[in-house]
């Protein structure tokens, strides 16, 4: 049985998979849950994650180093997914408070992730931010919001202040910009 989709139809379209699982038997869904437990980080199976939860979906590993740095003052849980299929699966299971996703991703497009999450009563409360380095301008922002239900649209490269502001606004939290040098000095007892 496939560790990614809980079955063996990884190449099927996301719509097909969604419809398949909507109509699936309880036994099959239970069987799938066991697979998801293996795919997801242990903290989401054994305990409740500290809320709010942010899920970052991007195939660029640099982004997975930069974003935690930008959100260093965020008190919650930051999860990482590296392609669209993994991101959608984690989002559907964990139901994060916020999904920050790249637009163009392997396997499932980030805008489709937004569409699927907003289309389901189970996940529609998750806020979604779509990021892109390609589609720039108000036209694409409007399209991402109107057509795919995204709550916000950010252009790459990531602007630290803008990202903090968007996260603060969508999650109603305050993220202080951590003065890293000072933090290091404090940690070192200087």
């Amino acid at each position: 049985m496939c560790g990614k989709c809980g079955s063996c139809f990884c190449n099927a379209s996301a719509v097909w998979k969604r419809d398949f699982w909507r109509d699936a038997s309880t036994a099959l869904i239970e069987r799938r849950k066991g697979i998801i437990d293996e795919v997801l980080p242990p903290q989401f199976v054994e305990t409740h994650p500290a809320r709010p939860v942010i899920l970052l979906v991007d195939d660029d590993k640099v982004v997975h180093v930069v974003v935690p740095r930008v959100l260093a003052g965020f008190h919650g849980t930051l999860l990482h997914a590296y392609d669209g299929a993994e991101g959608l699966l984690m989002a559907q299971t964990v139901k994060p408070d916020l999904v920050i996703t790249d637009a163009l991703l392997p396997k499932i497009d980030g805008r489709q992730i937004s569409h699927f999450l907003k289309d389901s009563s189970d996940t529609c409360r998750s806020k979604v931010v779509v990021m892109t380095a390609v589609y720039k301008g108000t036209h694409y922002k409007a399209e991402a919001i109107r057509k795919f239900g995204a709550d916000e649209f950010l252009e790459k490269p990531i602007n630290a202040d803008r990202l903090r502001l968007v996260v603060e606004s969508l999650l109603h939290v305050q993220i202080r910009s951590v003065p890293q040098r000072l933090e290091r000095q404090l940690a070192a007892g200087q």
């Binding site: 195939d59 660029d60 590993k61 640099v62 982004v63 180093v65 930069v66 740095r69 930008v70 790249d102 163009l104 392997p106 380095a133 390609v134 790459k156 490269p157 990531i158 630290a160 003065p179 890293q180 040098r181 290091r184």
Partner: protein, 111 residues
């Protein structure tokens, strides 16, 4: 080249080196994927890998590489010769980035 990252790092050279090392390692993977796509005559995969490399370069501040990758994505010339030449240019620019990073590393340790 890495002014924004320097701002974000707030003088944390460890973070800066981590990002740059990640970028260079990942870039090599994207170039390998582009080479494989070229061999397989898979233009879509070639352009997708160029997009991924371009996005990462933009984030890191390697603007020349980002610009070439953007040009690859926009180009309608998808002949093997054109893609091969584009890939060579990407590799040349990445070599320059590697040298610049090495120089930055030397500066950081010499301060």
């Amino acid at each position: 080249m890495i002014a924004d990252l320097r701002d974000l790092s707030d003088g944390d050279e460890v973070f800066l080196r981590e990002v740059l090392a990640m970028y260079l390692r990942q870039s090599n993977e994207f170039v390998t994927a582009m080479r494989a796509a070229l061999r397989a005559n898979n233009t879509d995969l070639f352009k997708f890998s160029a997009h991924a490399l371009g996005g990462s370069s933009l984030q890191t501040g390697a603007m020349q590489v980002a610009n070439i990758c953007h040009a690859i994505q926009c180009s309608e010339d998808t002949t093997r010769v054109a893609l091969s030449a584009a890939l060579e240019t990407v590799e040349f620019e990445l070599e320059r980035v590697t040298m610049a990073v090495a120089q930055e590393g030397w500066r950081a340790t010499s301060q």
